[in-house]
């Protein structure tokens, strides 16, 4: 079964991005959570050739604006 190692770089705010393994190829429009914030993927590129069962991708994403609900949880704004 293939694994996808993804480098997420955030644009539009000062955030270090992240590296995560997924069980599927990342796609444009996908929402991803990196530690405490949620982002939307804008662009996906393969950055290294696949090796063994691993595929290597880079995704550019931007923050999804959130509001804090009355119970203190983050919710995506509409």
């Amino acid at each position: 079964m293939a694994s996808y190692k993804v480098s997420y770089v955030v644009i539009g705010m000062d955030h270090p991005g992240g590296i995560v393994n997924l069980d599927h190829k990342p796609f444009v429009g996908e929402q991803v959570r990196l530690s405490d914030l949620t982002f939307e993927v804008l662009e996906v590129l393969e950055i290294m050739p696949a090796r063994g069962g691993f595929h290597y991708y880079h995704a550019t994403c931007h923050p999804i604006p959130t509001v804090i609900s009355s119970d203190g949880t983050d919710q995506e704004s509409i």
Binding site: S7, V9, P16, N21
Partner: protein
């Protein structure tokens, strides 16, 4: 999920046979961290390799404090100190509640490398690939 099933999905162990994975699994220990707990401290000797199994850790540099990357499931921490024997290059802190890891002590891993050079070759090659990926991530972050 069975530990071997998890290890099979970690790039660090790509290419290992079932028997080799068994040997690695035998020296892994699960360790649970709470949000804010420190895994490694910048400037201190590294003694353990961490594999994130659940949650996130952030890698940050001290003085001035700056987070350089967040690492999620399947990512490794402590590999630089394993390779160059130097002090930890950054502080690593758990940022999700809970954050789960598998931990391998350097001395146990090095003993395994000496006993089975095939495992040693594959894991060191995979660490090189991981360092390359992290460098590419940093380069792309600075575009």
């Amino acid at each position: 999920m069975d530990l071997k099933d998890f290890l099979r999905k970690v790039e660090l162990f790509d290419g290992l046979t079932e028997a080799e994975l068994e040997k690695v699994a035998a020296i892994c220990q699960q360790r649970r961290f709470h949000r804010g707990d420190i895994l490694t401290k910048q400037g201190t000797p590294g003694e353990e390799l961490f594999i994130v199994t659940k949650g996130f850790v952030e890698v940050f540099l001290e003085a001035p404090q700056r987070v350089v990357v967040n690492l999620g499931a399947g990512q490794i921490v402590g590999e630089m100190a394993l390779v160059d024997q130097g002090l930890s290059s950054a502080t690593v802190r758990a940022v999700e509640e809970p954050t789960l890891t598998q931990v391998i002590r350097f001395e146990q891993l090095e003993r395994l490398f000496q006993q089975d050079t095939s495992i040693g070759f594959k894991i060191i090659r995979n660490i090189a690939a991981d360092l390359s990926f992290k460098l590419r991530h940093r380069n792309l972050s600075e575009r």
